[in-house]
Symmetry: none
Subunit: 259 residues, 2 copies
């Protein structure tokens, strides 16, 4: 441990890292339990735009993962924080399953576009409505800008391409609230009482998980599950602290070398 | 004519240059007939993604323009040429009204994505299909990349945002086939038997018509009709060979000075 602090917190991505849809990554539950036997703080950070925190928790508990709702920090929480702070009335382009996390927000006569992964809303008419609102001055807020994600039937478009298209059409820049934004990682760490250089992020997305976390001063571990494609580790600079096969290997590395 | 070849071919834009919707530019039919009395070859070049060559021809003939179907070269023709040359089997994301220009093209088991302005196809499922094809190595071919266009009810998204989204998702670059691409002008000239420096382009779009043509070595004449706005001639470098009031003046200049 020469030259650096012992790790005090581990941030863990969910989809693609702990599970793929309703299947756990082999050994991930046990690996998580091993981490819990140490003194490190844990937070589960996810760029979900579809699932409320409650849904995520239920899904993970069904897969026998040991975690609590307050340990989950999502891009939807980050979006809600921003909307409340700016007092926006959003046009919410998110799936119905995510609406729960926006309960109580005024969406009448909308003056801001909030866009997540919302296949049902990704049609010409709705995107054109959003485009015209942006031309009239409405801010464009992206839950995140992931290019794609891993579905059981293969890779599928994320919200990123639709955000990018609106940015191009209206010649604007979206405010992104999810990973890999610095503010997202800072908020995730805020109640754990440690500095970024005392934290590790584990995820399957080289840019959004590893690159984003490392840009804030954390260490990033890339796992070769989920959306990982060969060579992803070469797409970010600096490269990941470590690239390994899966979450259990990442935990093994932390237990052996970083505590 | 010191220092340059006599002009052997004239390329002419349609909408905004010969006509605006269903009204001809005054004197344009006669000016076209005067050009036909010389030995110059003619071609009519346009960036449509919705109208087949036959539709365009019928519209122009109703306005008493003297032209033949084989003299029209559109961004749809350019796409077809590229598809045939590369022996692609395209997934055609174009409106039904444009499909006619792809008659006879094998679209079974597609291995290339061709995208125009196609609101009916701009939904998550179809775009995801295109995305997966591109990830598997299919080239992305854009009829053009306009950000938006003017509809009677206001501005509306063009094909550009959807092309941009797919480029972002798959980390690729579309091959654009319409104006102002070099290849578009090269193909338009290809069966006329003359070099770019023996040709003139006349159009109302400083960037797409005049700038694009001049970048290939042609002369460009900008007309102050259609989408022309004061000062457009200063938006490109080098400036147009000539800026004049309308198509008849452009023809007059060619007849007097360039033959």
């Amino acid at each position: 441990m020469a030259g650096r602090q012992a790790v005090k917190a581990v941030l863990i991505d969910l989809s693609g890292t702990l599970h793929i849809e309703n299947t756990a990554i082999p050994g991930a539950q046990d690996a998580l339990n091993r981490l819990r036997q140490t003194s490190v703080a844990l937070k589960f950070v996810t760029n979900t735009t579809k699932e409320s925190k409650k849904n995520l928790l239920e899904r993970l508990q069904r897969l026998n993962f040991n975690l609590q709702e307050q340990e989950i920090f999502t891009s939807l929480s980050a979006a809600r924080n921003l909307i409340e702070q700016k007092q926006h009335r959003p046009l919410l382009l998110v799936e119905d399953s995510a609406l729960e996390d926006f309960a109580g927000i005024d969406t009448s006569d909308p003056n801001a576009v909030v866009i997540g992964l919302a296949p049902d809303h990704f049609n010409y008419e709705t995107l054109n409505k959003a485009f015209r609102m942006i031309l009239s001055g409405a801010p464009l807020i992206a839950i995140h800008k992931a290019r794609y994600y891993k579905r059981t039937d293969g890779l599928a478009l994320g919200p990123g391409p639709f955000v990018k298209g609106l940015e191009y059409a209206a010649d604007c820049k979206a405010t992104v609230v999810g990973k890999p934004e610095n503010t997202f990682f800072a908020q995730a760490l805020s109640d754990l009482g440690c500095r970024p250089d005392e934290a590790v992020m584990i995820g399957d997305d080289a840019r959004d998980d590893v690159g984003g976390a490392q840009a804030t001063g954390m260490m990033g571990i890339l796992v070769r599950t989920g959306k990982y494609r060969e060579g992803d580790e070469n797409k970010i600079n600096p490269p990941p602290h470590l690239t390994c096969d899966s979450f259990p290997d990442a935990v093994e590395h932390i237990l052996k070398n970083l505590l």
